[in-house]
């Protein structure tokens, strides 16, 4: 992984996501892992990052079921009659990330338990040049 020649930017993160890889950065100096990736280690202030692929396995830390959706999600068919879950997932490598949460009934959120084990899924939206992959997690 150390030889991957991509800058530690959001564009690289999403390019990897398009390739169905969840990639963070690991500080070679202190060993801490960052997701989303970042070029500068805030712990040791060194710039010695290497790309690190995440297993995609994690646990649910917090979530919500969104009923009043932003325009982007309304365009994807979500809203008052079709709520969706989004949340924060802590990966087994340490860092936590925001992502859509699938595989549960957003209309019955009481049944969703924090700490539930989840795995990353890659959600495809749009086609051709407009195709975008976004991150999700499901049981």
């Amino acid at each position: 992984m150390a030889s991957i020649d991509r800058e530690f930017t959001a564009a690289s993160f999403y390019k990897f996501l398009n390739e169905h890889k969840l990639m963070g950065s690991r500080c070679r100096a202190c060993g801490r892992t960052y997701l989303p990736p970042r070029p500068l280690c805030p712990e040791c202030f060194r710039e010695e990052m290497a790309w690190a692929e995440m297993s995609g396995r994690g646990r649910l830390l917090a979530f919500t079921a969104v009923h009043v959706a932003p325009t982007g999600m309304v365009a994807a068919g979500y809203g008052r009659d079709n709520p969706y879950c989004t949340g924060i997932v802590k990966l087994e490598e340490g860092p936590a990330i925001s992502a859509q949460i699938l595989g549960f009934d957003p209309k019955r959120p009481e049944g969703i338990k924090l700490g539930a084990p989840l795995k990353a899924v890659f959600l495809e939206r749009g086609e051709g040049q407009a195709r975008r992959t976004s991150l999700g997690f499901q049981p």
Binding site: A10, P36, L61, A62, F63, T64, A65, V66, H67, V68, A69, P70, T71, G72, M73, V74, Y78, R80, P83, Y84, T86, G87, I88, P95, A96, I97, S98, A99, Q100, P106, P109, L114, S134, L135
Partner: protein, 422 residues
Amino acid sequence: MKAKARKLGRGVALVGAGMSKFGSFPEKTGRDLFFEAFRELLASVDKGFDPREIEAIYLGNYSSDLFEGQGHIAPIIADWVGLAPRPATRIEDACASSGVALRQGALAIASGLYDVVLVGGVEKMTSLPTERVTDVLATGGDALFEIPAGFTFPGFYAAMATAYIHKYGAPLEALMRVGIKNHKHGALNEKAQFNLTIRQIMENKLAKAKAQGRPLPSWAGELDFLRDEAANPVIAWPLRLFDCSPISDGAAALLLVAEERAKDFTDKPVYLIGSGQASDGALHSRPELASIRAAKLAAQEAYAMAGVGPKDIRLAEVHDCFTIAELIATEDLGFFPPGEGWKAAMEGLTSLHSPRPINTSGGLKAKGHPVGASGAAQAVELWQQLRGQAGPRQVPGEPALGLTHNVGGTGQTCVVHIFRRG
């Protein structure tokens, strides 16, 4: 990082304050709202003063660009109230914009640069439809890594609520109690957007249903009303409509002067004795989701500067953009131990007649939350309370110390101020 005891270079006093009515005003722009606040500020200065004495203006505003199509709003507002060509600086820290503007105004005086500074906040939000307001507010989060996940502003606080409830076993009723209490306070504040208790809102709905010959809902009381999906729909579970502060228009203004000049303006100044501010990353980057780290750090700095602790604070205006935020705030500020804030809310330990009332103004929930004006408006409430001028919601016994807690976004910015009766 431990906050070191910082001191202001010289003392700062609040000698005047005003705010517009908060609400939805289709005929009013940001500058009209700010003028209302400024006019009230002028009238509030006991010994009167010439506005030409103002040397600079610091204005909190989140997003006049997106809400009103007006960027560069600080000089526009300065000119509108006759203060051009004085330096006019806009401060943008999301919902903490004018709390931070207050701090910047205080620092400008403490540095010795100015003796008389106008601090303000303004936001005109209601021109946009709700979905677009949702989009604009969400830009206060991380546009690259949080918003693409589908997070909305209520969504962030809803997620914090699930973490808080999971960790401490709080019932949803605790959230409802915050809303009921803040509406009770708001009913005593003529400037509040919701100048009504939740019981009054419920009774108005019953009366309307009756007048229209519709079947009458059988709500046994406020809690029953708040549990009804039709009356109180989910916005972002577990937060419902009455857990959320409204979309608001409004403005607030504060007159700060160097301590040695205070008596030229009033014999009853309010001294700003503590100020603290901190920042943080995206919500998912934090080790704890049932608390706001930057709020704790800002509070530590403000307490250390003022030389007081949470027990000395007689009343506080805290950033209840959502009901869960008030529970977390009362813990982050040290008023209650972690996990005890919800019990205090259930027991009425934050209401007007408790030893330390929280959000006597009605808070963001009932008073309204024109985001860039909210921090300054919190200080307007303390100005009135610490001078014994809060009318029907006056905290009894001549309160000496008050605190304001203003949060930007999910806690990426927090600013805390402590005020002392002069």
